[in-house]
Symmetry: C2
Subunit: 636 residues, 2 copies
């Protein structure tokens, strides 16, 4: 029977059954936590949606769990393939539903990821990356043609996606982030109206391609487009058939295989491919960025390269925003495992007879509770950033080429490029802390913390190494300041994440005036300190960069020399500020009942202060520099 507590349908989230050795008191102070989940963190319709998914998986023997099982690589990949296929068959999320309620996309991915990261990754790669690349190009025609030629019938989009659309091949063995150095070529031959896809050597082999290892039949291959006369126009995507769909044998000229065991996500078959002068029809070019006429002339709808680049930032961001969500779900699981263990595990106590739960120790709280707060703050941020991305993509789909749309793209790119590192690192460190805080039991495979750590690890790497991505964000902020200094422009962005910078000389004159610990339990205090810190770091980074350039460094050298000491902390502090700001606002919405606000407010303050404490040394140093006469000059 569904009962209603403060308006929430608590039947959606029944009480946990009691374990044999749970502490008798303190464990369930009230039903508040459930109301909170229902009202604030998970919106009821999302919870209902997730419950449908979990119920379906629970009943399906294909999804039966064997924690800590010793699956072989082959068996695991086979199982993950079958499970992914089954998820498409369940068809949990229709296209209409997705448009009506976009948060169902991350909600679905979170369910799959909570079950198994490899499943979420395989599903995401099948349905989103390739799908979005293809469907945003006129090249979809050729795809449907191919499909019709290959399969006699394809009952639905989902089934088609799963059987046919497969992989997205950009990274090469020797190059990834530096896309300009990608070396696979696509020479156009006007005589046959074909492109010739070619890998010059093994370092140019496509590598790491998700889903390519075992079963992919077609790939979107990124190659340098060259037209007759050897004129090259940079990377463009081409659909290339790589395997025969009936036999799964490689197509002529294609060498394709599995790259082998990884640290985690071994249910996903990452592959490699090399192409020896493989000919594909002219229509295989996915032509949203640029096209080639039958005669061999290159044409592009974008006038300047910068505009073309701006549009492509949107698709870069979607990967990063997804990773934020994937990382946080791992942290959610780890924190839940470690806190439950800590509430039941008893060691030592005030007397020799009495042992207390380890969660009662200040040390255990200090180790674990900040990560609990981080889950709340980052999970909220992740959802809000996803909604921002939806706005961006809707603009893109409707052909919005306004300045605001371009600015929105840049702002989301800056936020995604720093929140992906923040979320993946927080999770990495949090899982490690949870693993250690559970002692030996945390080291048993069946307790899952190892799998979570291994599966989370690529979040630090793919879609760009975390440290390199942070440079995107610091560059964005430096660009805004340069614009302000040079043209007197205001700091304004569509999502308002940079608007506070407009007041930056004034902010830097502010002093930290809080006197009591109780005052600090309002996250507004940490927010003010963060704003000061970001202003300070932005000014210092800008000055340091100019100083480097004045002393003769090239732009390349100057940025490299500033990144460790200045750019990196600037980008991190900026995104932490944004996370804290959004969670603070969320907690202080008028609709949040006071009893909930008390709990959420403490989580908000804990996350904010804990994050800020990593910058303590910097704050002390900054204070000393700022109080030193002659140092108060503004950016120039």
């Amino acid at each position: 029977m569904a009962s209603t507590v403060e308006g929430a349908d608590t039947a959606l989230l029944p009480e946990f059954p009691r374990g044999p050795s749970m502490p008798t008191e303190q464990e369930r102070p009230s039903g508040t936590w459930r109301v909170h989940l229902l009202l604030q963190i998970s919106l009821p319709h999302l919870l209902r949606f997730q419950k449908t998914i979990f119920s379906a998986l629970e009943k399906d023997p294909l999804f039966a769990r064997s924690p800590g099982a010793d699956l072989s690589l082959e068996k695991y990949r086979e199982l993950n393939f079958l499970r992914c296929k089954r998820i498409f068959e369940y068809d949990f999320l229709s296209v209409e539903d997705m448009f009506k309620s976009p948060l169902k996309v991350p909600a679905l991915i979170q369910c799959l990821g909570m079950y198994d990261s490899s499943l979420a990754a395989k599903y995401l790669l099948h349905s989103l990356v390739f799908g979005s690349a293809v469907y945003s190009s006129d090249g979809s025609e050729v795809l449907l043609e191919c499909a019709q030629r290959t399969f006699s019938c394809f009952p639905s989009f989902c089934a088609l996606t799963f059987r046919f659309l497969d992989v997205f091949a950009l990274t090469e063995l020797s190059h990834a982030v530096n896309t300009k150095a990608i070396r696979t070529t696509a020479h156009y031959d006007p005589a046959t109206e074909e492109f010739i896809i070619h890998s010059p050597d093994f370092e140019a082999a496509k590598f790491w391609v998700g889903n390519m290892g075992k079963t992919a039949t077609h790939a979107v291959v990124f190659a340098k487009l060259c037209v007759p006369g050897d004129q090259c126009h940079g990377l463009h995507p081409f659909i290339v058939q790589i395997r025969d769909p009936k036999t799964l044998l490689p197509m002529p000229g294609v060498m394709v295989g599995d790259i082998g065991k990884k640290l985690g996500q071994n249910g996903l078959d990452n592959g490699f491919a090399m192409f020896h002068k493989v000919r594909v029809p002219r229509q295989s070019l996915l032509n949203r960025m640029g096209d080639v006429t039958p005669e061999g002339t290159y044409v592009s709808p974008f006038k300047d390269v910068r505009q073309r680049f701006g549009v492509s930032l949107g698709s870069l961001s979607s990967g990063r925003v997804s990773i934020v969500s994937l990382a946080i779900l791992n942290l959610k699981l780890a924190v839940a495992i470690a806190l439950r263990f800590s509430a039941t595990r008893r060691q030592f106590g005030p007397t020799e007879e009495e042992e207390i739960p380890v969660l009662e120790y200040p040390m255990q709280q200090w180790r674990l509770l900040p990560y609990l707060a981080a889950v709340y703050a980052l999970d909220h941020f992740s959802k809000s950033l996803f909604l921002d991305l939806v706005e961006l993509q809707r603009g893109l789909a409707s052909g919005d080429r306004s300045a605001r749309q371009a600015e929105l793209g840049r702002e989301i790119h800056a936020l995604a490029s720093a929140s992906k590192p923040l979320a993946s690192w927080t999770t990495q460190q949090g899982i490690q802390e949870c693993r250690e805080a559970c002692g030996g039991h945390g080291y048993l495979a069946m307790n899952r913390l190892g799998v979570l750590r291994d599966d989370n690890d690529p979040n630090c790497t793919y879609e760009g190494d975390n440290n390199i991505l942070l440079q995107q964000t610091s560059n964005y902020l430096l660009g805004l300041l340069a614009h302000q200094v040079q043209d007197g422009a205001c700091f304004r962005s569509p999502l308002k994440s940079v608007d506070f910078l407009d007041a930056y000389p004034g902010i830097l004159d502010q002093k930290f005036e809080v006197s009591s610990v109780a005052d600090c339990l309002d996250s507004a205090v940490a927010l003010a300190a963060y704003k000061w810190l970001v202003c300070y770091l932005l000014r210092e980074t800008y000055q340091k960069l100019n100083q480097e350039k004045r002393s003769g460094s090239s732009d390349f050298e100057a940025r490299n020399n500033c990144q460790v000491s200045h750019g990196r902390p600037l980008a991190l502090a900026f995104v932490e500020l944004t996370v804290v700001q959004r969670f603070h606002e969320h907690v202080h919405q008028p609709c949040v009942p006071p009893s909930l606000r008390a709990v959420l407010g403490r989580l908000s303050a804990l996350y904010a202060l804990w994050s800020l404490s990593r910058h303590t040394a910097l704050l002390y140093r900054a204070e000393r520099r700022c109080s030193c006469p002659g140092r108060r000059d503004r950016s120039s």
Copy 2:
């Protein structure tokens, strides 16, 4: 042909063969690195010894490697068993040789650990833990008797060790660190002159026991010794046969098995065991700590519990000292892998045409080089601490019951209890950084960084959770200060690690006076700062503890409330200081040639400053507190 460079036999360490894409310059500035290795870090006789071991393994097909292979749990455990047996057959280290050249013990373990941590762990458990526990007790008689009854012949000590002596069972499912709460009992029955070993319930099952999962036939079981009249005398070790050596079936009353897959070290079969009223002869008690007469009277050679405890600290330390060495070897491997990758991997560059090795980027250097320095500093510390332990154990073996011997035991215990956390955490973080710094390639299983991380992880947990162990060290320092304050005692310890504290009020009056960056490149500067910091933290911790007690906290509460903010950083700063001090002295020995000292000195300064930088916020805060009038009171 052996050539001689500055007196070193360089044939021991030939140049590496050139790889296909190594940078053409800068990679091999001179032969200095080899001389350095030969003269300074690895003493030539140790290097020769290690070369013998590696050459033997290289030629033996049983040790053929298949990087990133997908071994099943069963297969891996079987392989590791066979390899461990083979290592005993090779008999690399005779008992005489071990006494003559004790550093060969960690040298052998490092070789095995570099090959595979599971092998090193299995070997260590077989030969050291059990062996030392048994051989330091009169109980060895019963053991030899058992062996004679069980096997018709045992050709050598090594073979005997491997076939017979097996496991060391202390930890239970629900208790480990809190040994007083261990619940397995051993009731003495004078009627039959037997002990009855019993596990009251499943939470008292012995758990995590290395080597117990598959093949162990006998175990040293720690149980509460109780004599008639229900008088209990705490934990004592008993030899209990757990399996039939011919069939490997459990003995009557024993339930024994494998605990399943772990995050790493899966070549090692950790097991569990429960005992249902298993009777063992009176002589099964390993009686160095205490014995029971045939009539059932408890007798102990130790007059007071404190003395008995002091002796047992020695055996606790040996495990922790071994772990320091095991952790560092993992970091050595990880740093070598990441630096080689970074020297050959090229991405971006000053112009679009030219790509530079990623090691040239300040970011990559900032990420990796401190860990290179940490390897040098911690490896030296690990060896020196091992030699200190050898001194302690020699005193123990010769029956030295002097005050110095007891003090040495306490000092080594304090150093081992903090250096085990320092080494295992530095390695944990270092491997993670190396993994990420190698990008996607670091995520491929064949590149080994994942295995290193997984295999290093238990170093943070076994022999005591790192955070709990640090309390041992802070308690040691607080005890010394209390002794000084209450009895006017001097700070003096056999290894002199605490002697500087004698000058502590004076040290706290010192100011940091270094003005140039160049000056800081002498590790003496960081050393002075560390001494200041340890003095400051010791005084603050002592005051905070007393303040807690004055405000009504029990000793248990007071220590819990001080540990996060005070005791933990105190213990870490103290052991970092000791590591820096020892490496600094090592580098400045007169026998070190100046060209080498230049390089080693930079590594020493880098490690010292990098470690110290983690305390920067604390140094700023301390400076502010110390410069505030009225705060300069001494500990009271």
